[in-house]
């Protein structure tokens, strides 16, 4: 097993592997401009696959449903499992006169979902199956008034939607290389263990960028990550690997979890259960998915996978990851959902270790959260016209270019 810290060249600049991205500063306009945001709404959020952050096991039985208000798409989305087991998405809009169909954010509709307004009933596959006093309509055929479908597909249990009625590519085509890199990961075996949601008065890109680099680790998360990140061979570089794809990207980060002195509770937690401050056993590292710790370093901290535009996976071990789903509401308001997926406790002691990891993650996210609205206020002051991008912020630079390409295109995939 090679040790990647020996083989990575001191002074490596990952950005220089991608001359098409340049090294210049980036404009601040996309973070502030209402006009730019409306273009993003039309050409990004209305046309690409976006992750709902929800997993299929959250609607396990036929008839189970979730409702998501997707403000950037100006619609409410109904995700429902049909009798055939398939998860479908629909606009949550009654096709009679447009009332909101499902009012709860989750539920079970059994044999049908009935609109409160006039009592129209729809099956879990979207067909209109019941219309009170149907004989009083004129030239009426129920088949013409099924729910309006939304393109919906699933990757590793995560439900994605595409508000384009006719998406030019399938979800798997859209995800590209990421599918193979993460194939075999325990997505299907790790239960949703915690989930936090916060409304943020900031542009979605501020939120997105906050989880797209770890240059901030040594400062903002000094107590949590500072010691783990100390790298004597490469004091100012913490990147083990970076891969840029057509739309998406990943970065793998250095962190010496094995040799960093641990606190009393960390030691206890590692003794009784999983902990994300502990380097997982490297015994079977060769069998990990190709994209998890891709350099197979023993000084590996975590990987970030960014699924453009609104989904981040942070993988800390073969059995522990977090997922961030971020969606704009308006040009200066966004929603952040941060979730932890952690092994199911088998004893009450493991419930405690899970709680420890949850509280640790939550406190780290509260540090991240502290920057968001302050950054919004800072850039609204007009002080910045552009900002410099460090090598370890490469994924932000790439994401900006991806967005620019989509905004310049006619909306069709190349």
């Amino acid at each position: 097993m090679q040790d990647s810290t020996d083989t990575h060249v001191n002074g490596k600049r990952w950005t220089l592997d991608h001359p098409e991205l340049g090294t210049g500063s980036l404009p601040i306009t996309p973070y502030l401009s209402t006009e730019y945001f409306e273009r993003e709404r039309g050409k990004i959020f209305s046309r690409t696959w976006i992750c709902t952050g929800k997993k299929v096991e959250e609607i396990p039985q036929p008839g189970d449903y979730l409702v998501l208000d997707i403000a950037v798409g100006k619609t409410s989305v109904l995700l429902v499992r049909g009798k055939d087991g398939r998860v479908r998405g629909f606009h949550n809009v009654c096709k009679h006169r447009g009332n909101r169909l499902a009012w709860n954010d989750r539920g079970a509709c059994g044999t049908g979902l009935t609109c409160r307004f006039h009592g129209w009933t729809y099956a879990s596959d979207g067909r209109l199956i019941g219309v009170p006093e149907e004989d009083m309509f004129f030239d009426f055929d129920k088949r013409d008034y099924g729910l309006s479908p939304i393109a919906t597909d699933v990757w590793e249990g995560f439900i994605f939607i595409n508000l384009d009625p006719d998406p030019p590519e399938t979800l798997h085509q859209y995800l590209g290389e990421v599918v193979d890199l993460l194939r075999g990961y325990a997505f299907d075996r790790l239960p949703l263990s915690w989930s936090y949601t916060a409304e943020q008065k900031c542009n979605w890109r501020i939120l997105r960028d906050s989880q797209l680099e770890f240059y901030h680790g040594k400062a903002l998360h000094q107590q949590f990550a500072g010691k783990v990140m100390i790298n004597k061979q490469q004091p100012s570089c913490h990147v083990l690997d970076a891969k840029l794809f057509r739309r998406h990207s990943m970065m793998s980060f250095y962190g010496d979890r094995r040799n960093t002195q641990r606190t009393p509770m960390e030691l206890l937690m590692a003794q009784f259960g999983a902990s994300f401050k502990t380097f997982p056993s490297a015994r079977d590292m060769d069998r990990w998915p190709l994209g998890v710790n891709p350099t197979r370093s023993r000084q590996w901290f975590f990987d970030i996978y960014y699924i453009f535009p609104n989904f981040h996976l942070v993988i800390l071990s073969p059995f522990l990851f977090v997922a961030h789903t971020m969606l704009p509401e308006t040009v200066n308001r966004s929603t952040w959902n941060a979730r932890g997926y952690f092994p199911q406790p088998t004893t009450a002691a493991e419930t405690v270790t899970r709680e420890y990891n949850k509280c640790l993650a939550r406190d780290v996210w509260l540090e991240d959260g502290s920057t968001l609205e302050n950054t919004q206020r800072g850039i609204e002051s007009g002080v910045l016209s552009h900002y410099p991008v460090q090598d370890q912020e490469l994924l932000i630079r790439h994401a900006h270019k991806v967005a620019e390409e989509l905004l310049a295109s006619d909306g069709q995939a190349e």
Partner: protein, 116 residues
């Protein structure tokens, strides 16, 4: 008093449990944020040397739901969960709250609603 006591080996921790053995993360977090650092440090210092024994004891019980645990063991679990809650205050922040952190009240734990 049976509903306010701890399992036999841990009865001396009763003064801590009276304050900290709370059923939800929101309650435990509020207790943390409304305590002084001296109170939190005292809780940590008292429980830490017993924590291995507490976890060993809890290893003999199923994980959840908490209702599945006998009342005394459940109370010990809540106390241990509070220890998990305050650990970052002691080991990372040296103060009750995350320094300059985002407001906890606006960081909504959806999992509490899902669990019910």
């Amino acid at each position: 008093m049976s509903d306010t006591s701890l399992p036999e080996p841990f009865t001396d921790l009763e003064p801590l449990a009276a304050v900290w053995a709370l059923a939800t993360e929101t309650e435990r977090n509020q207790q943390r944020l409304s305590s002084t650092m001296a109170q939190i440090q005292a809780f940590y210092d008292t429980l830490l040397p017993r924590m291995e024994a507490v976890l060993t004891y809890l290893s003999t019980f199923p994980p959840e739901p908490p209702d599945a645990l006998p009342q005394k063991a459940r109370r010990l679990l809540y106390l241990a969960l509070a220890m998990a809650e305050i650990t970052t205050a002691v080991e990372l922040h040296q103060q009750p709250s995350v320094p300059a952190g985002f407001e906890p009240r606006r960081f909504i734990p959806d999992h509490e609603r899902m669990e019910r």
